[in-house]
Symmetry: C2
Subunit: 254 residues, 2 copies
């Protein structure tokens, strides 16, 4: 049998499914899982027993299913891999979401820690680098489609220069500003300049290798409490206003 802390690809998919169902509703039932993964009910029971034996889920026959802390953590990791691959496929390679998600769900079990990390950083970099961004992706798309009426290196270079100069103008007009993270609104992004303090959130971010230069995206804001859901380096985090205030970012011009 596989070691108690490890999961086969199939078991990871079950765990992932449970995670999504538990997030949407309160708890998962075997039937939901079977439907989501398109497998037979009895297959689910078998998987549940395995996951339960290994301590990933709370499960008793006929009872409702929830994740243990260990299971939750592992599920989040699977989801992170899934989303990271998905982001790369959709944002960089311009593959449509359905196909990207299917491929991601197969590949997520085979990607190594380190390569995943580089991939996340690469997408981040392409999105934020002045020579990357939208226009690079556009250029890539043209490159893919070009049939005859392509451009020479020289022309291509000239165009790139044009493009960057234009962007410089845009940015100068826009005057990028520095702001605490809690000033950002939903869907805005920023580049981390500084993380104040030593313990608490600062430590946590350091553990995740979130450093100045990393890109943060605000996923959601709670208008009442001011709490933020952010995504950084592939991780989804929730921050209180106080915590967010400690993070200084340069607003991304977008």
């Amino acid at each position: 049998m596989t070691p108690v802390d490890e999961l086969s690809a199939s078991m990871e998919d079950y765990l992932e499914a449970i995670y999504h169902i538990v997030t949407a509703k309160q708890a998962a039932r075997a039937k939901d899982i079977a439907k989501r993964l398109d497998v037979n009910n009895s297959s689910v029971t078998g998987a549940l027993r395995t996951l339960s034996e290994k301590g990933f889920i709370n499960y008793a026959p006929y009872d409702v299913i929830t994740l243990t802390p260990k299971g939750h953590k592992h599920a989040e990791d699977v989801v992170r891999r899934h989303e990271a691959l998905m982001d790369f496929f959709t944002k960089v390679l311009c593959v449509d979401r359905t196909e990207a998600s299917e491929a991601a769900c197969k590949m997520e079990h085979a990607v190594s820690r380190n390569i995943l990390d580089r991939l996340i950083r690469f997408v981040e970099f392409i999105e934020i680098c002045p020579r990357g961004g939208e226009t690079l992706i556009q250029g890539f798309n043209n490159h893919c489609r070009q049939e005859g009426n392509f451009i020479t290196c020289q022309d291509s270079l000239a165009r790139c220069l044009e493009d960057l100069k234009q962007r410089q103008k845009d940015i100068e007009g826009d005057l990028l500003e520095t702001a605490p993270l809690n000033d950002l609104r939903q869907d805005q992004r920023g580049k981390i300049l500084k993380i104040k303090g030593k313990g608490g959130i600062s430590k946590k971010l350091a553990e995740l290798e979130v450093t100045p230069g990393s890109i943060v995206e605000v996923i959601q804001t709670d208008t009442e409490t001011g709490a933020l859901d952010i995504k950084v380096r592939g991780y989804r985090l929730s921050l209180s206003t106080e915590e967010a205030a400690k993070i200084l970012v340069e607003r991304s011009g977008n």
Copy 2:
């Protein structure tokens, strides 16, 4: 049982191993395969039977193993996937070769046709695009390593502009020239400008979706016959001098 034309991940690995062994020596023996894949001899026998039944290899008990045309074709496809992922990991993500190869060999079985295609084109694009290339990758590496002394968007953009201008100068001095593919030497690359003729090589390239704009790399040249081994869109091809002469490329400044 899986359909007769399809192979499981495991069987693909066996096929891949056989391909490499057959390429190196004349034919493969069960023992070589077992050693290469680090599995038990008896597992190899089982795999050989399966591959033989499905028509991928020529195999008789106690005899030497070779690939059928069908097997050769499928093996080349597996290798193409392996190399494409490997290229992306090493050239773009800067992962070291050993790790890249391991990861590629796991992921190669999960990557979809379309995504593989986009990936190959992306690597090609990054290598050839003026705003991509070496300096972009360097920028990416800096982005990964930066701890505190990172750059703001504005500075970053200025640097990029500098870099592109410099490159423009380099290119102007170098004056890129147009040449038939057979003029390129080993390890040189070029961007396809035009493919002359209708049938033969032209048709074959069209089938592989090799079009003007695609990047060709010369892997090896035969000084006697002038034949070329090239790599284009992830495919390895052998061309005679006459065939190569029909392909007009713009020399890559590298």
